[in-house]
């Protein structure tokens, strides 16, 4: 879709936004001008590194297969938080209940892809590049998106990655991605960046591009916003606070990516998993309250993802090995809360893995088409059916 067609198509979507960002104000004031901004709607990606155990996250506790496959790892029914007749949340996810009850939390069951790969690194590459299982693509799916429809040059960055070096789906192309630990520290140090130089080889070209990204981000970024909302302590809570501060100002950022891990729980899973889900739920709950506080929640979509889930049958080390499809969360002021996909049928599962009910590229297609009003086929190569994840 070209810019002009987008302008027409995106009108309805943008008209619905409430607290206006600079971009949408500009657009509303001058609807004929170029620059209507799909990216005024923020995407927050949360990568659950290592592969999260979906069955102990959203628990099909009434399925007799659950206790059979999980003699040591099955969670006690009394501790769980029921959300439907058949499903209940891990107790650590209690902080997500307000979002669930206000129907701003969608639970995507069985997200995966055909012919799954069980290597962490290959599988996350498949997710990051939105490739088929046997297809190798160089650039991340968001890098491809931004190559076709770049966020405005005036944005501080196309994407901000908090607390992790790797850029995931933002890697590749000419994406302007900045990695941040602390915005104030970033701004203090940014004066060390060098303006320009001759790009004599690929490594030097990369360094000079990063120097450039620093200077550009520093010129626009203002990470000082003070929230009344408290943020949890710990690394993930800090990352959420940084994310909230980065998007509070007028800087302009299309995507924020957070990471939490490691969910690679091969042994003695219960304690680690409970702690990680607790950090996730507390962090996301704080992000929701913070963005409600600044009137940004209606223009925010938070989506979790991971390279894979874990195997339904627990291993002999009270852990779980690499699996396939898993459950994921989508939250936001415009999210149509509820259950999507299919609850796994554990009756038929022995040593094997779960089939997927939702192709992860359908999640991406939803983001591209329904959230940003972009052409998903151009980015994903094939048309994937978007999910009914968002309210009109």
């Amino acid at each position: 879709m070209d810019r002009r067609r987008f302008l027409a198509a995106g009108a309805a979507a943008l008209a619905g936004t409430t607290a206006a960002s600079r971009a949408s104000v500009a657009w509303a004031a001058a609807p004929a001008a170029a620059g209507a901004e799909p990216y005024a709607r923020l995407l927050v990606l949360v990568e659950l590194k290592g592969g999260n155990d979906g069955l102990n996250t959203v628990v099909p506790h009434t399925d007799p297969g659950y206790a059979r496959l999980r003699p040591r790892l099955a969670l006690r029914r009394d501790d769980l938080i029921p959300i439907s007749e058949r499903l209940a949340l891990h107790p650590s996810l209690a902080p997500l209940l307000p979002a669930w009850e206000s129907r701003e939390l969608a639970i995507l069951q069985g997200v995966g892809y055909p012919d799954p790969n069980l290597s962490h690194f290959r599988s996350i590459e498949i997710w990051d590049t939105a490739s088929r299982s046997a297809e190798f693509l160089a650039d991340g799916w968001l890098a491809r998106t931004f190559a076709r429809t770049p966020p405005p040059r005036g944005y501080a960055a196309d994407g901000v990655v908090v607390g992790s070096g790797d850029l995931g789906p933002l890697a590749g192309g000419s994406t302007r991605a900045i990695a941040l630990a602390d915005p104030e520290q970033f701004l203090r140090r940014a004066k060390l960046a060098t303006a320009a130089g001759e790009r004599r080889n690929a490594a030097l070209a990369h360094i000079l591009k990063v120097e450039d990204d620093i200077l550009n981000a520093a010129a626009h970024l203002d990470g000082r916003h003070a929230y009344a909302t408290p943020f949890p302590s710990g690394p993930f809570g800090s990352a959420v606070r940084t994310a909230a501060r980065v998007v509070a100002g007028d800087a302009g950022v299309a995507v924020v990516r957070l990471t939490l891990g490691s969910f690679d729980t091969h042994s003695n899973q219960l304690g680690t998993h409970a702690r990680l889900l607790g950090e996730l739920a507390q962090g996301l709950a704080a992000l929701r309250l913070a963005l409600i506080e600044i009137g940004r929640w209606d223009r925010t979509l938070v989506v979790t993802y991971a390279e894979f889930g874990r195997r339904p049958r627990e291993n002999q080390s009270a852990g779980t090995d690499h699996g396939t499809a898993s459950v994921h969360f989508a939250l936001g002021g415009r999210v149509a809360g509820g259950l999507l996909g299919a609850t796994p049928d554990l009756g038929r599962v022995g040593e094997g893995n779960l089939p997927h009910a939702i192709d992860f590229r359908s999640v991406y297609a939803t983001i591209l088409e329904r959230w940003w009003s972009l052409d998903s086929r151009a980015v994903l190569g094939t048309r994937f059916e978007p999910l009914p994840l968002l309210r009109a």
């Binding site: 590194k49 069980l118 290597s119 962490h120 690194f121 160089a138 990655v161 607390g163 070096g165 790797d166 192309g173 000419s174 991605a177 990695a179 941040l180 630990a181 602390d182 104030e184 520290q185 970033f186 203090r188 140090r189 940014a190 060390l192 960046a193 060098t194 303006a195 320009a196 130089g197 004599r200 080889n201 690929a202 490594a203 030097l204 990369h206 360094i207 000079l208 591009k209 990063v210 120097e211 620093i214 981000a217 302590s233 710990g234 690394p235 809570g237 800090s238 990352a239 940084t242 490691s262 690679d264 091969h266 003695n268 680690t272 702690r275 291993n315 002999q316 080390s317 090995d321 690499h322």
Partner: protein, 547 residues
């Protein structure tokens, strides 16, 4: 897209250069000169000194490479921290033990881990064989284990000793040793792998990451190999390998198309017999030492030599380092220094010997490379992934310190500095201590070894975030103190370099520090007569990040 095209051209360019055998023969037989010496030493060691460059310059390629490889050591020069040699039982407290006991244990291991990192960094600085330490680090990043999961610092030390003992020995012997290495048995759950309860973790990673590479084995191979490794276990109190026959599955296994009653060692031999294994290792060595884009044909050729030699590591290294691709002008300055190379290399090139190296290991952790704690089993990704907006600024802030403290000594008091509008450098890599603490916490830098994360047992985190901040703060101050105590003087360092005029000396300084001419050419700072300004500009140049 522009970068990719550039890379493709850069990759082809050396062929054009070296396609003429006559020219090649001449180059190989001529002295490598100061530029060649710098290139070889920077690629195979940590930041050469002016004296080392002078020593190597008259040698021909083969002699220079032979001298580098001939320096190999199998033991460290620096005595390890005493705690590493202790013989008391190393079993962590049980789940049932008290909170205090567990807290004390975690604290001890964290302290020991920081000491251990400092020890390794000291060895990198002190060694007479930088290639030994580069290869020890290379194998640490190949056969990854992390103290985050292993927890017991002494096991990490013993693994480091094993990696060094084989660093320039046989890859096959190293693979067999590492498969039975206690830290590895904990890290990839080998200790959990029993006949009745196979654990696939090691079996998968040994094929995917250590030998064959992804896609060169099946899921069935993984399951069968896991059975073969069952029973490889650990005597927990002494931290030594033990084979528990009763837990081993002695039955038939079919692996890579071969069937037999394989045990773990037999599986490793099957893997070593595969061409893919030699190719994976040589390709990785190429990216470490030569260029970011290995030539498939050359990799196959060198891998063949490597395998036929019985996996003698110096055979592969020698072939790579003597290759025309290694020496090609187009391949100078095309690799990005790892944080450890940046930190150790800067100290070595500026001829600084810190009394305590631990703060510098912490500084490297702040740039994304925490020794003994790689981010995951694949290790540090390296290359361009070393540089993002966050880590580039941390790197620049670090090197800026070297030109800063002499300036401070000239400027006696804080109020005067403030009056002159000068910043007061006051903490780790120049950031205020609270920000350093924040940064460490924000970045999830348990990495820095400063914060305990729960072990694989799922024991609750025994430290609050506040305690973690406090520790990060103390670490930040330690780095700051370390910098102040260096007493480094750019003026003295530059004055000691060869050259009759200040301009000659500045040229000599750039030859030591930069792999290719500065990127920020037009700004004039490099011509600065003031040694401090000159050194600051040289270290701040984007080219300083390259090797």
């Amino acid at each position: 897209m522009r970068f990719r095209r550039f890379r493709a051209v850069a990759a082809r360019w050396p062929w054009v250069l070296t396609g003429f055998t006559a020219a090649v023969a001449t180059a190989a037989a001529a002295p490598i000169g100061e530029d060649g010496a710098r290139h070889l030493l920077a690629r195979t060691g940590y930041g050469p000194t002016a004296a080392e460059i002078r020593d190597y310059a008259p040698l021909e390629r083969d002699a220079a490479v032979a001298r580098v490889l001939g320096s190999a050591r199998t033991k460290a020069l620096t005595p390890p921290p005493p705690a590493m040699l202790a013989a008391d039982p190393m079993r962590p407290p049980r789940e049932t033990s008290g909170v205090e006991e567990r807290r004390a244990f975690v604290q001890r291991q964290i302290r020991a881990g920081i000491e251990l990192r400092g020890w390794w960094l000291s060895e990198m600085l002190a060694t007479d064989s930088p290639i030994t330490e580069r290869m020890t680090l290379f194998w640490h990043n190949h056969f990854v284990s992390s103290q985050q999961k292993v927890r017991i610092a002494r096991l990490m030390y013993r693994q480091n000793v094993t990696l060094r003992a084989h660093a320039l020995g046989d890859f096959g012997a190293l693979l067999h040793a590492i498969a039975k290495d206690p830290a590895m048995l904990v890290y990839l759950d080998g200790v959990q792998n029993r006949r009745a309860a196979p654990n696939e973790n090691f079996a998968r990673e040994v094929m995917e990451l250590f030998t064959l590479g992804e896609g060169r084995y099946t899921e069935r191979d993984v399951k069968e190999a896991a059975r073969a490794f069952s029973g490889w276990s650990l005597e927990r109190d002494t931290g030594t390998f033990v084979f528990r026959r009763a837990l081993h599955d002695p039955g038939d296994k079919t692996i890579l198309g071969r069937t037999g009653r394989f045990d773990g060692d037999a599986v490793l031999d099957l893997l070593l017999a595969q061409e893919a294994t030699a190719e994976l290792v040589v390709g990785k060595l190429w990216r470490e030492f030569v260029s970011p884009d290995p030539d498939a044909g050359e990799v196959r050729r060198i891998a063949g030599e490597f395998r036929r030699s019985g996996y003698r590591i110096p055979v592969a290294l020698s072939a790579l380092l003597r290759s025309d691709r290694f020496w090609a002008e187009a391949n100078r300055g095309v690799l990005i220094k790892s944080p450890v190379e940046l930190v150790v290399g800067t100290l070595r090139s500026l001829e600084i010997e810190p009394a305590d190296a631990a703060p510098f290991a912490i500084a490297a952790a702040g740039m994304g490379q925490n020794l003994l704690s790689p981010p995951n089993v694949r290790g540090w990704r390296g290359g361009e992934a070393w540089i993002d907006t966050n880590t580039l600024l941390a790197r620049k802030q670090f090197v800026a310190q070297f030109a800063r403290y002499e300036e401070m000594r000239k400027t006696p008091s804080r109020p005067e500095r403030a009056a002159a509008g000068l910043a007061t450098p006051d903490a780790t890599c120049g950031m205020p201590p609270d920000a350093a603490a924040d940064a460490a916490a924000d970045a999830g830098m348990d990495a820095q070894g400063l914060r305990a994360t729960p072990g694989p047992t799922g024991a609750p985190a025994v430290q609050s975030a506040d305690a973690a901040k406090l520790r990060a703060l103390r670490a930040a101050r330690a780095v700051d103190r370390a910098f102040r105590e260096l007493g480094f003087s750019p003026t003295r360092w530059i004055a000691a370099l060869p050259g009759d005029t200040p301009a000659d000396k500045r040229a000599a300084a750039q030859r030591v520090l930069l792999p290719i001419s500065p990127a920020a050419g037009g700004t004039g700072a490099h011509d600065e007569a003031d040694p401090l300004a000159f050194l600051r500009a040289t270290l701040a140049d984007p080219v300083y990040q390259l090797k």
